[in-house]
């Protein structure tokens, strides 16, 4: 069983990120870059599957600049068997990422592509579903539980109103939600062992074709300042005065 785990390098999700005053880019305030948190959950899940079944093979893949090597090394330290860096300084939007991942999936023939539901920088929530469409594979997004057995995936997934269970034949695409698992802390031996694991670098096989272009970045509108009230009684009379409670 081969599991492909795409990894996006994103700015630390806890960092304060702002639009540059001239609207042309992002000010990340020198924050660190990390594995997209949802991709870390995908990787953790793949590693747990391998712990249960040693024949599972995990390939981590990232598309981007040479700096993505840091995140792939971390993926290897978490337990991926090998990593592929599709090295490119070009801009890749989610559909272009999906197209490149589709080409790679055709080559590597994974049984499962396990990836994040959304990148915490662009908040797009597109690449996985687009990849599944390009491959004409079934999908299960927002997974909170994943079982693999007998060539099938059984996935509990979060919905707007609760949860549902989907079952499908492999190969398929599954995206992770926060409650799937809690990623492990990487111990020192893993980091050392990761140095000797294979990390291949190669150019993309597709050209990014941007279907959307970001033309401006702005600060969100600010709310007029509010005020503190001294008591529940004062709060209730303010809310009544505003007409938001009867």
């Amino acid at each position: 069983m081969k599991i492909m785990v795409p990894i996006k390098r994103v700015v630390d999700p806890y960092a304060k990120v702002k639009a540059l005053p001239d609207g042309t880019g992002l000010d990340t305030g020198g924050a660190k870059f990390e594995i997209n948190p949802f991709d870390e959950i995908a990787l953790e899940e793949a590693v747990r599957k391998r712990e249960a079944d040693p024949s599972v093979q995990i390939v981590a893949v990232s598309i981007g600049s040479s700096s993505c090597e840091d995140q792939l090394r971390k993926a290897l330290a978490m337990g991926a068997d090998e990593a592929i860096l599709i090295e490119s300084d070009a801009e890749w939007d989610s559909p272009s990422v999906a197209a490149e991942l589709a080409a790679l999936a055709k080559e590597l023939a994974p049984d499962l592509v396990l990836m994040g539901k959304q990148a915490t920088d662009d908040d797009n929530n597109q690449a996985a579903q687009m990849l599944a469409a390009l491959l004409d594979w079934p999908q299960a997004t927002f997974a909170s539980k994943l079982d693999l057995a007998g060539g099938r995936a059984t996935v509990a997934r979060e919905t707007d109103t609760g949860e549902e269970v989907l079952e499908m034949a492999l190969p398929c695409v599954v995206t992770t939600d926060l409650r799937l698992n809690e990623p492990r802390y990487i111990a020192l031996p893993g980091i050392i062992k990761a140095r000797s694991k294979p990390l291949a670098k190669r150019p993309p096989t597709t050209e990014p074709r941007l279907r959307t272009r970001t033309v401006r970045l702005d600060a969100p509108p600010t709310r007029p300042p509010g005020r503190k009230v001294g008591s529940v009684d004062e709060l209730v009379s303010e809310l009544k005065a505003r007409g938001v409670v009867a």
Partner: protein, 297 residues
């Protein structure tokens, strides 16, 4: 320009029509389940009459099969629309905009990125446009009376079996994304029973829905579908009451467009107070029962 708006059920008709009006182009509505009379300005209502919404692989093919001839295909942002719309975009070779909050022109839209810290203006470079839309960002649509209706047969071939589909009951409370009042609780609510008694109780006193932070959901005191934020639901009610919620960027991303925000927190420096219209520095265990007492109808 002509838009096809995808409504999963009749409750999405009015919210979607808001976007149709903002786009300023004629629009048809594809209603997947249920039926309705008023199209809120739709030129035509296509009734698919599905008993349940099929899995995304099949549904995307079904939607794409009726989407010929439309420049824009849009759905209200939700987990079910985000599941299927990117697949529809591939089938139509459309550029896709997730979570649109403003229309600048037929090809230019605004959307929040990085947990709402930044508003991006994006242009779509392809001929056709697919979108999910945060309908609460647009002005309400007015009823227009009975629309032209036509039945369509959606063929949705799927490779996915649905072994069970259970919806957690929301206790008869209004849907979070459409509620006029939302009461949310965070980590300090000790357990599910306490959460239900205090947050649920105040929500019921106000006829509102129940929300939660990720910390509350993670520790099992609130149900999954109550999570508000970057990775949960986006809400914009008339009144949002946050109790024991610190106000992380990720939580704010889901509620800071609420009309009136009330924060109840023991820490007067908690970031939630920066977006609150009214802040009460008090223990929620005393403040909420007192509020319930005074607000109960």
């Amino acid at each position: 320009m002509k838009a096809l708006l995808i409504a999963f059920d009749p409750s999405e008709l009015e919210p979607l029509a808001r976007f149709g009006a903002a786009l300023g182009a004629p629009f048809d509505v594809l209603l997947l389940t249920g039926s309705a009379d008023d199209g809120y300005g739709a030129s035509e209502m296509l009734l698919a009459g599905l008993a349940t919404v099929p899995p995304a692989d099949g549904l995307a093919k079904g939607i794409a099969s009726v989407a010929e001839g439309y420049t824009h295909v849009a759905a209200a942002a939700s987990m079910r629309s985000k599941d299927v719309m990117p697949r529809v975009a591939v089938l139509l070779d459309a550029g896709m905009v997730t979570d649109a909050i403003a229309v600048l022109d037929g090809k230019t839209f605004q959307r929040p990125i990085v947990a709402g810290s930044v508003i991006a203006t994006v242009t779509v470079e392809t001929e056709r446009v697919a979108l999910t839309v945060r309908t609460s960002a647009f002005d309400p649509a007015t009823p227009t009376g009975s629309a032209n209706k036509r039945s369509v047969a959606l063929y949705c071939p799927t490779a996915v079996a649905r072994t069970s589909a259970e919806s957690q009951a929301s206790g008869g409370r209004p849907d979070l994304t459409q509620a006029k009042v939302v009461v949310s609780g965070g980590r300090p609510l000790k357990d599910a029973g306490t959460f239900e008694k205090l947050i649920g109780g105040l929500a019921d006193a106000l006829g509102g829905g129940v929300g939660a932070t990720r910390a509350a959901v993670d520790s099992g005191i609130a149900p999954n579908e109550a999570q508000v934020g970057q990775t949960g639901k986006i809400v914009a009610p008339e009144l949002y009451i946050a109790a024991g919620v610190s106000g992380s960027t990720q939580h704010l991303a889901g509620m800071k467009d609420s009309k009136c925000i009330v924060a109840i927190n023991t820490d007067g420096d908690a970031p939630i107070f920066e977006v609150a219209d009214f802040g009460l520095v008090e223990d929620l265990y005393t403040a909420i029962p007192a509020l319930m007492e005074r607000l109960r109808p």
